[in-house]
């Protein structure tokens, strides 16, 4: 059996999205897509729960839904640190086999230096859970007028990277080149090593932002993530396929940070 092309999709979701129809956002469809694109396993969040006041019920549904598929689909529950019971929820996540959890500070109105987010980051590091943040779910220019949350600012990522210890692993999904650079070069080398990025929103050729970032901050700082079912899983793959040869290893491959983030 050959190894999958991508060991991990760090940024997958299931469930419906409140602001537009998303085709087939169910785990069976995700598994078919992963088979088609040669993706080994995925960290899977509950898309609808991003917009819930209290995500705990959606997390319970997520655990139940993914339990039979745990070999490839790992639950990534959303845990709200400004609600009572954060540590209990983190315990449930570990019991359910989660390797990462997600937080949505912009949807919850938590600013960049909110102490609850710092507490969550430290608690995740202590339990060996990656903390996954999403910059945006849709392009700003197409959002529903009720979707008023701002994009995740770089300041939030910098604050968390600075607050956490070396055991902290932050995974940031859907950032563009500007945010990645603003964050990375605003951190010490030790802090930089705590942050991983997917490249779902990084431009490929002709501007070649992804190639630039691989050269400047290193491909090891990046993980494969798709934002499925919101975005085409083909997009990050096409971006890799169109990289110039000069950023590839002699074997023709790209060294991503997926193994280190798990």
């Amino acid at each position: 059996m050959t190894a999958p092309r991508f060991a991990l999709d760090a940024s997958a979701w299931i469930g419906t999205y409140p602001f537009r129809h998303v085709p087939h956002p169910d785990p069976d469809a995700l598994l078919r897509v992963m088979d088609r694109e040669s993706i080994g396993c995925a960290w899977v969040g509950s898309l609808g729960a991003v917009f819930h006041r209290d995500p705990t019920d959606a997390n319970a549904d997520l655990y139940r839904t993914l339990a039979p598929l745990a070999e490839r689909l790992r639950p990534a529950p959303i845990i709200r640190p400004d609600f009572p019971g954060m540590n209990r929820e983190l315990g449930f996540a570990c019991d359910a086999g989660a390797e990462s959890i997600r937080a949505c500070p912009e949807q919850w109105g938590l600013g960049s230096s909110h102490p609850a987010m710092t507490e969550l980051a430290l608690a995740c590091a202590e339990r060996g859970l990656a903390l996954h943040l999403t910059v945006r779910y849709e392009d700003l220019r197409q959002r529903h007028r009720l979707d008023t949350a701002a994009d995740l600012p770089a300041a939030t990522v910098r604050a968390l990277a600075r607050a956490g210890g070396d055991a902290l692993r932050l995974v940031v999904s859907a950032a563009g080149r500007d945010m990645i650079e603003e964050t990375h070069w605003g951190l010490t080398p030790a802090e930089q090593r705590r942050v991983y990025w997917d490249f779902t929103w990084v431009w490929g050729p002709p501007e070649d932002h992804l190639a630039h970032l691989f050269r400047s901050i290193g491909s090891e700082r990046f993980v494969f993530g798709s934002q499925w079912p919101l975005r085409l899983v083909q997009a990050p793959i096409a971006n890799l396929d169109l990289l110039p040869d000069s950023v590839r290893e002699p074997s023709g491959g790209i060294r991503l940070g997926n193994p280190a983030v798990r």
């Binding site: 392009d139 220019r141 085409l232």
Partner: protein, 290 residues
């Protein structure tokens, strides 16, 4: 263990074995655009195009790209300089590049002169930016010139205009539809359904206006976008294109095979046959492929 993402030649729709591929929405930079890396960006477009299997880049230069006048409101001097630069690129790459003449309709006489000059030098269409709303009467003489030259017009579009945005006089599908109804002999290419805004509004707005054919360029790669476009408009009204992000163009091209809505002939139509119909197969150098 090291995760290896093999950067091999694309194996699906972007493969060169799948016949011609026309990028109906491309741009090139030039020396007067204020970017020192302009040659590298142009080279990257060719590099990625070769890997994707692009046969012809149908391209325009947008004045000075903001360096000496605004991108979407280019001065006549910048329009001329940009078109001249575009002609030079065509001359250097006669097989794989075709030119759209960029014009600013606020300067009617200049715009018409640029179109005539373009027609005489092998251009295949006209590029309109966002210098004037799409249904403005100032666009009528441009459309009449397009009709006379059998040129399609690629019009920059914001998908669903709900407010004004700075640095452009934005138009949406409904605005372009009003212009297209006034000029039924002209084909209008609605730019980049993935280029920002609510593309679902666009499909409703242009569904009944058959002389509008969108290109699916733009950085947006929403799942469902291509499905909605095909259901609303049919494969015969969609053009492959990339604009500023070739990776997202390739992703959407590959995704066509997974929608369950396209026959191989449909995909061929979107890859190049529709473009050959809109621009003219001979003008694209694809007459033998027909």
């Amino acid at each position: 263990m090291t995760a290896k993402a093999r950067g091999t030649t694309p194996k699906t729709s972007g493969d060169t074995t799948n016949g011609p591929l026309v990028d109906a929405h491309a741009h090139f930079l030039h020396a007067a655009c204020g970017r020192s890396d302009w040659e590298a960006v142009n080279a990257a477009r060719f590099r990625a195009g070769d890997r994707m299997g692009v046969t012809v880049h149908v391209a325009s230069v947008l004045g000075s790209y903001g360096h000496t006048s605004p991108t979407y409101f280019p001065s006549p001097a910048d329009v001329t300089a940009g078109n001249d630069a575009m002609r030079a690129i065509c001359a250097a790459e006669p097989k794989r590049v075709r030119m759209l003449v960029t014009v600013n309709p606020n300067h009617t006489a200049h715009a018409l002169a640029e179109i005539a000059k373009g027609a005489a030098s092998g251009a295949v269409g006209i590029k309109l930016l966002a210098s004037r709303r799409a249904d403005d009467p100032l666009l009528d003489p441009i459309c009449e010139a397009a009709s006379a030259q059998r040129f399609p017009i690629l019009h920059h579009i914001w998908q669903h205009r709900t407010r004004e945005w700075p640095n452009q006089e934005i138009s949406d599908g409904a605005d372009l539809a009003r212009l297209a109804v006034r000029h039924p002999t002209v084909t209008f290419i609605l730019a980049h359904i993935g280029g920002g805004g609510d593309y679902q509004h666009t499909f409703h707005a242009i569904r009944e206006v058959p002389n509008i054919v969108p290109d699916f360029s733009g950085s947006g790669v929403d799942r469902g976008m291509m499905d909605n476009a095909i259901r609303a408009l049919g494969a015969s009204r969609l053009l492959f294109g990339t604009d500023l992000t070739m990776c997202t163009g390739l992703a959407k091209l590959r995704a066509l095979e997974t929608t369950g809505l396209c026959t191989p002939a449909d995909i061929e139509a979107m890859r190049w046959r529709n473009a050959a119909r809109v621009f003219g197969a001979a003008r694209l150098g694809l007459a033998e492929a027909i």
